[in-house]
Amino acid sequence: MSASDPRPAAPRAAPALPGVAGNPRRPYVRPMAGWWLRNPYFVRYMAREGTAVFVAAYALILLVGLVRLAQGEAAWNGWLEALRSPLSTILHLVFLAVFVFHTVTWFEVLPKTMPPLLVGGKRVAQSAITAGAIAVAAAASLALFGIVWGLTR
């Protein structure tokens, strides 16, 4: 027996089947280590899950802004200044790309989590539900961007 065999030693000591001298069955369990690298679908899934870390990180950045605002004008302006740095701009572009991936991949899951959507007695295709949700998210983001842009000019 090799070290990779997950079963305890002496498999032949297993209870004998009737009429069989020893039980020759020795099912082999394959290891799971590195499972998510075996298929591009799993890599994409892990990337989707991983984007949650970026969402949490950006929430912390915004939370720091709130704390700085509570500390007074100088602190708040310092936080704003930090956001204008070239490094911050690059980071924001990275965050934007990650958030777009997060949004698209989670809306791909959306149709799996709901009962069939019937329009005129016919099921709406899952791809149409995903596309619709992405369109609504994009429109809402643009509208919010437009409102904030208008308010801050």
């Binding site: 020795r26 799971m32 791909e108």
Partner: protein
């Protein structure tokens, strides 16, 4: 075999428990034609090259669910996959379905699945006793549509081989069994939902699913188990909170 016959290398993950400590790849050169399935390639090996090779098959037409294997790492029915589609690389890799113990060569141990299937009571449990004289149950097309796709499952276990959660947590009831659970709970003739919901809400139930979604990708019958599992989560949550209002579960 004529010299101009097309051939392909089929690499099979062999495991013979009485003599091998661990599985190992063995390559066979198999002549093929454009209409030959991977299953027919395996049958050629067994009949012409190596009679010791073991694999399961029966109907050869994608309805019995016996011949599922990993083909180049992807769970597929070997009867529904064709050697011509792998000819470009000149070779194809065949392995027993992932996430199951290997009994021998391409044959898996599926006892755990059969137990899970039994646990979800995969049969109609009538709402009340009904005499034969009452005639057949009537269903509207909409009532049929509520469960029809989930009843297409052929228990081929490709979805289990596609589900990393099954491999990481072997107790997980898994996609096909949960899809069938949802199928019976969604059937207008059935009154057994209260008996099945504990399986959904259990530690080993639907909440083990992390919405990878690959089960639905590999399903050869369009069952979409991921949608059933995730709708079952919703049903379980509703039942849990309705329990606080004294309307839950019929326990």
């Amino acid at each position: 075999m004529s010299t101009n016959e097309k051939t392909i290398e089929i690499e099979v993950l062999r495991y013979r428990p009485e003599q091998d400590a661990a599985p190992f790849p063995q390559t066979y050169v198999v002549p093929y034609s454009d209409d030959m399935s991977v299953l027919q390639g395996l049958q050629y090996i067994k009949d012409q090259l190596d009679g010791t090779l073991s694999f399961r098959w029966s109907c050869r037409q994608a309805i019995c669910g016996s011949c599922g294997v990993m083909i180049d790492g992807i769970p597929k029915l070997s009867c529904k996959s064709f050697l011509r589609d792998y000819a470009g690389k000149g070779r194809v890799r065949v392995e027993a379905l992932a996430n199951f113990p290997i009994e021998r060569d391409l044959v898996i141990v599926m006892d755990s699945f059969v137990e899970k299937l039994e646990s979800i009571k995969p049969y109609i449990i009538p709402k009340e006793p009904r005499p034969l004289s009452a005639g057949e149950y009537l269903q509207t097309p909409a009532q049929l549509d509520a469960y029809a796709q989930y009843s297409s499952c052929i228990n081929c276990l490709l979805c289990y081989a596609a589900c990393p959660q099954v491999g990481l947590s072997p107790d997980f009831v898994g996609p096909a069994a949960l899809a069938l659970l949802f199928r019976y709970n969604s059937d207008s003739r059935d009154g057994g939902a209260a008996q099945r919901m504990p399986v959904v809400g259990a530690e080993s139930g639907a909440f083990h699913c992390t919405a990878v979604g690959y089960c639905s990708e590999v399903c050869p019958k369009g069952v979409d188990p991921a949608s059933a599992v995730n709708q079952a989560k919703g049903a379980s949550v509703r039942e849990y909170f309705m329990g606080f209002l004294g309307k839950g579960g019929g326990k």
